[in-house]
């Protein structure tokens, strides 16, 4: 995957571009990596003036390709410790989702009425709930379900919104109008309310929570993909591919799509946090996941009644887990964007 090329030459210092203002994502005046840019510009210039030189070819290779992307990622991570931290946290969440259920000390569903409503202790790190279930075990086990809901809904919306957006940007015309109209209609609803309506109508299941979360994110993906595909529809590599006799569909899938993937990956990471929040919110009001399944949103809902009588730990730990996960995805998304799209960082 070629992530880095072409960015260096265009990296002008923009204090707050209109783009970063409309997306609202740009934040912070970090010292821009001018020294690095200067070096790259210098090597590029050297390469251009001495094209016949063999060394210049190797320097071009030095600045592109997978190894360069890794180097660039390492550079960003070393400069921005927060992204590194978020990445470590992400690994921890993935680990909890994959092996968590095998490591937890208690069965997340086993009730023990003798030990009900116990505050956090050495035996029960996060305390126990009204049925005596171990909250630590439930929080860890729930990671898999929450993570799975978020990942599948993001993958689904990438397939629906991403492809529709690419087609709209590439073909224009009525494809563009249809996709735009669908996106506008979805945007006419407050998103969480629409998700509620969809799950209630389609049936109260986890699959429909995933689908509803994907649908409400559709406009976001369609718009980004449309804009990115649109600026690339007449790019040199498209013309070359067309000249070689490739069909439009093939150009779309083999040329345009791989080129906008980095930006879509950032988009996926940024919406992952929202997807988890949305799904947890739905299960908090009783949609999707049913008790006694361990899921963060429903666990907060179960603990809500005990908040007024002082048993804070029942709702607190799943809520905190939810918060940490969303926080991690947001930081990671910002960090990924820095790697993929340095111009957006302000």
């Amino acid at each position: 995957m070629r992530m880095v090329p072409t960015r260096h030459s265009g990296a002008r210092a923009k204090p707050a571009s209109p783009e970063s203002m409309t997306t609202g994502r740009g934040y912070g005046f970090r010292p821009s990596p001018l020294s690095r840019l200067g070096r790259n510009d210098a090597t590029e210039r050297k390469g251009l003036t001495a094209l016949s030189h063999e060394r210049s070819a190797s320097e071009f290779a030095h600045n592109t390709g997978f190894a360069a992307a890794l180097r660039h990622a390492r550079y960003i991570l070393s400069e921005n410790a927060v992204t590194g931290f978020a990445f470590a946290l992400f690994l921890l969440i993935v680990l909890a989702a994959v092996v968590g259920p095998y490591l937890v000390p208690y069965d997340p569903l086993a009730s023990d009425t003798a030990a009900a409503l116990k505050p956090p202790s050495a035996a029960h790190w996060f305390g126990t709930d009204q049925l005596g279930r171990d909250i630590f075990s439930r929080v860890v086990v729930a990671t898999r379900l929450d993570f799975l809901i978020a990942v599948t809904s993001v993958a689904l919306v990438f397939l629906m919104g991403g492809l529709a957006g690419v087609a709209a940007g590439f073909f224009g015309g009525w494809t563009d109008r249809v996709v735009g109209r669908i996106a506008d209609t979805i945007m006419a609803f407050p998103l969480f309310v629409l998700a509620m309506g969809i799950v209630a109508a389609l049936g109260n299941t986890v699959e429909n929570v995933v689908l509803a979360t994907a649908i409400v994110n559709f406009p976001l993906y369609a718009r980004v993909a449309r804009a990115e595909a649109n600026v690339r529809r007449e790019a040199g590599f498209d013309l070359a591919a067309r000249l070689c006799g490739n069909g439009e569909m093939r150009i779309l899938l083999a040329q345009i799509l791989p080129n906008i993937m980095p930006i879509m990956v950032v988009q996926m990471s940024l919406t992952m946090g929202y997807a988890i929040l949305n799904a947890a919110g739905l299960s908090f009001i009783g949609l999707g996941v049913r008790p006694p399944t361990a899921e963060w949103g429903i666990m907060v809902a179960e603990g809500a009644a005990f908040m007024v009588s002082g048993e804070w730990w029942i709702a607190f730990f799943p809520g905190a887990a939810l918060m940490v996960a969303v926080f991690c995805f947001n930081l990671l998304g910002d960090g990924l964007r820095d790697i993929v799209d340095p111009q957006r960082r302000t």
Binding site: Y27, D184, P190, I285, A315
Partner: protein, 337 residues
């Protein structure tokens, strides 16, 4: 000016049409039998067939749609299964509770976020800038129902400052005579200071919860747009002309920086109206959000459909209002239109 408003209203029409079509499709064209749904689980085959005819579900889809639009035009949103009451009446009586809460939440958010964003933008890399950065990043990660519960624990259980999170008014008080439906305003009209204080006490925590939720995007946008404006030529000129820093920031920069912030309000409202449902559930607030949640639990679809429709229509109207407001603030928009 009027032309701009009229033009903008025309743009809102397709949105409304889309909203009506989607809410229609949500009940009718989806898998499952609405007649069996409305008849309830214990109904016989004949009863279901009867209901099917009564609801017009045996007719083709477009006939049903025309009928649905006709009902809507007469303000008929159907009847609730559980209470048998018209949904429209219920929503009408509950709407002020939600509106009061949402508006107060927005006021809380704006009154914290805008000064915070301005201070952060005028003092880059200072303590307040870092604080702003922290609040903005943490704010988008906080599940709104979780914030509400934490506030309840701290301010009700631990400190005892807030009243029990059970609705709009303590049981010892009776609501003020209805004029606007907003208890704060109605109690003032009635001149009842006690009821005003009591309803304000009930409002503080849920409004704060919503405010914390909506704060992050507003603060982030204020800061970004303030930074852009402060770096612009006319601010430099104003500074060079020797105007005081306060005049430059407030009169020159602030007014221009507000434009993108107002645009963001559309998105903020989308979040706010959704978060409202969760906050109403946490605080047992008798608004339309908790009405919808109750209907969800009872698998009662008509109230839910009415709720989704009401929310969407309100959201379209709010966006319209924002656009008009934008035109009032920025004369350039008016000229373009």
């Amino acid at each position: 000016m009027l032309r701009m408003v009229a033009k903008r209203m025309l743009v809102a029409v397709p949105s409304l049409v889309g909203v009506v079509i989607v809410t229609f499709l949500l009940t009718r064209a989806l898998p499952g039998d609405p007649a069996a749904y409305f008849a309830g689980p214990a109904a016989t085959k004949e009863a279901i067939e009867q209901i099917r005819q009564k609801l017009g579900l045996d007719k083709p889809l477009y006939v049903q749609f025309v009928r649905y639009v006709g009902d809507l035009a007469r303000g008929d949103l159907g009847n609730s299964l559980t209470t048998g009451q018209p949904v429209a009446d219920e929503i009408k009586t509950r709407l002020p509770a939600s509106a009061e809460l949402t508006l107060l939440g927005l006021i809380v958010a704006m009154s914290i976020a805008v000064p915070l964003g301005i201070l952060a933008a005028t003092r880059p890399n200072s303590m307040i800038d870092h604080l702003c950065r922290l609040i903005v990043t943490a704010g988008v990660s906080l599940p709104v129902f979780f914030t509400g519960l934490i506030l309840i624990y701290v301010f009700y259980y631990l400190l005892g400052w807030a009243p029990a999170p059970l609705g709009r008014l303590d049981v010892f008080f009776s609501p003020p005579p209805q004029v606007t439906g907003f208890y704060l305003i109605d109690s003032l009209i009635a001149g009842d200071g006690e009821v005003f204080a009591a309803s304000l006490k009930q409002l503080v925590l849920p409004a704060l919860t919503l405010g914390i939720f909506a704060l992050a995007p507003i603060a982030r946008m204020t800061r970004a747009s303030m930074l852009a404006v402060l770096a612009s030529d006319f601010v430099r000129t104003a500074r060079a002309s020797g105007l005081s820093p306060a005049t430059v920031v407030i009169t020159y920069a602030f007014r221009n920086a507000m434009l993108p912030v107002i645009t963001t309000l559309g998105m903020v409202f989308s979040f706010l109206l959704g978060a409202n449902v969760l906050v109403e559930k946490v605080f047992a607030w008798p608004g339309i959000g908790s009405f919808a949640v109750e209907a969800l639990i009872a698998a009662d679809f008509a109230p839910l459909q009415g709720f989704v429709l009401t929310m969407a229509v309100m959201y379209v109207a709010l966006n319209l209002l924002i656009d008009v407001l934008y035109g009032i603030i920025d004369p350039r928009v008016r000229i373009e239109a």
